[in-house]
Amino acid sequence: MSQIIVKIAPLDPTFDRGAFRCGNDFIDRYVKKRCLGDHALHKLRAYVATQPDTPTVIGFYTLSLTSLKPGETSPAEAQEKFKSWAIPLVYLGQIGVQEEYQRKHGIGSALMTHAFEQTLRIADIAGTYGMMLDADNDEVAAFYEGWGFFRFGAGEEEQIKMICPLTKIREALEVA
C-alpha cells in the first residue's frame, strides 16, 4: 500500500467538494449539494479528509446520534424483557473515498479510525453503546464485520443493521 498522509477535519465552506466522486451517485450529490447545510444545522456532523495544505476533499463521512427501540413493545415491557428500553448509538450514515484514492492509500481506514475516536469521545461526554450502520448488502456487511461490527437484523428497507460495541472500539484503539 502506498501511504499518503491525510488530515481529517469537520466540514466547512473552505473545503473544495466540487470534484468529489466516490462511485455512488447519491453520496457524490450529497457531498456536493446538501452535506454542508446539514452539517451547519447540526443535523449530523460531516468530516472530510484532505491532503495537508490542500482544500480538495478526498474522503468523507458523517456521524449522528440515534437510538434503537423495539417495535410493538412498550418501554416498560422492554425494560422487563431486555433490561433496557432503548439502545443509544452513534450512527455512521455515509462514508466514501475519492475514486482514484480507493483501496491503496489507507484513507478509508483513516476515516473509520477517526470515526471510532470520535465515538469514544461522544461516549465519554454523552453515553453510547457503540457505532451503528446500515449496510446495503451482504458484501458490504462482510466488509464491516472486519471492522468489528455484528449483524443483528434487517432494517425497514431490508438493509443489514450492524453495531460495533463501544467496548470493542475502546479496546481496539488502545491495543492497535
Binding site: 447519491f26 473515498v97 480507493q102 449496510a135 446495503d136 453495531i163 470493542k168
Partner: protein, 52 residues
Amino acid sequence: MAARLAEKGPDALQTVSAEAFGRAIEELRKHTPPSEVMLKRIANGRKALQER
C-alpha cells in the same frame, strides 16, 4: 472504500423488531475482543492520519 453504506440519512429513533433488539442487546453484553483484521486496519488508518 466507496460509499459502502445504505443511502439514508440519520433518524433520531429507529424501530427494529423485538427479536432484533434482543439480539443486539445480547451481543452488546458479550465481551468480544477486536480481531487481528480490525487491529491491522486501525494501525493502517493511523499511519495515514496526519499527526495531531
